[in-house]
Symmetry: C2
Subunit: 150 residues, 2 copies
DNA sequence: TATTGTTATACTCTATAACTATA
DNA sequence: TATAGTTATAGAGTATAACAATA
């Protein structure tokens, strides 16, 4: 028998059976990073999803809600209140493309928000990527893109 | 200028600004794997968190709810209804350790459930790990443990 | 017929606060 | 004083269904 504290000594739980489970550690790492990003972006009153949307619109004005939803894997029904909130706060505006679609673009204030959010996100990313060996972030991201496909 | 479809041709949204963001791809990959695991475990009427709890109890009988919550990063308040559901369904039983703590263990039926769940989880893991080069899963898991720390 | 956008709704997961009982 | 467990509650994120307007 290996040395082991008595049962009544509050033994730390053994994660052994989970050690090789990619999905488990993926979920844990994602939860930690998302919590940190959420706390960091709170200083500019944006949630992670909102910041991501503003970044994509800023990079590609004219996008529609449906296109945004598809690339971010957000259902149309959930995009509506998200976009309504961003418009109500004056970060974006819409212009008719045709009777159905509306082209999205940033307002001047929205552009400022993106600049602020991008700096916060980059600092957040640097904090976490620096936990890894220098050549790992790129390799891990490539693996994550494989795992997240379809 | 690079070749590019006209704006009115429903151009796919450009994820360029997100390409280097570890947190973004982590979230996406985690969502895809969790959705697949949830669908796979539905055949034995377990959710991913429930299966994980049963696995840990089976590996280490005598664990308490608090210990489980700490290792899985689940708040005590959220452990209560989880454990109540597992006990109501007859997968676990509790025995008093002292006036506060209760030692958890699997019932015979719970043990059967773990065996079924473990097979499903292993198949799920194999499906996703086989998307990666042979030496990558281990490296990625190590990186995820670094990212998920604290 | 298919797509865009909206509303309503429900379910899960997570977070906080307050409480009892016990160590 | 600190910990174990419970209850209640609220906030996000996500899912489906239904609908109107338009292509």
């Amino acid at each position: 028998m290996t040395a082991r504290p008595a049962l009544d000594a509050a033994a730390p739980a053994d994660t052994g059976p989970l050690d090789g489970l990619l999905g488990y550690w993926l979920r844990r790492a994602s939860a930690v990073m998302m919590a940190d990003l959420g706390a960091s972006l709170a200083s500019v009153e944006l949630r992670p999803t909102e910041a991501t949307i503003l970044i994509l619109i800023g990079n590609q004005p004219g996008l529609t809600q449906s296109e945004l939803g598809r690339v971010l894997a957000i259902a149309r029904a959930n995009m509506a209140p998200l976009m309504a909130g961003l418009m109500k706060r004056g970060f974006i505006h819409k212009s008719r493309v045709d009777g159905r679609s509306q082209a999205l673009a940033l307002t001047a204030w929205g552009h400022d928000k993106v600049t602020q959010a991008r700096a916060i996100i980059d600092a957040h990313e640097h904090r976490f990527q620096s936990r890894l060996a220098a050549d790992m972030p790129e390799k891990v991201i490539e693996a994550l893109k494989q795992l997240g496909a379809s």
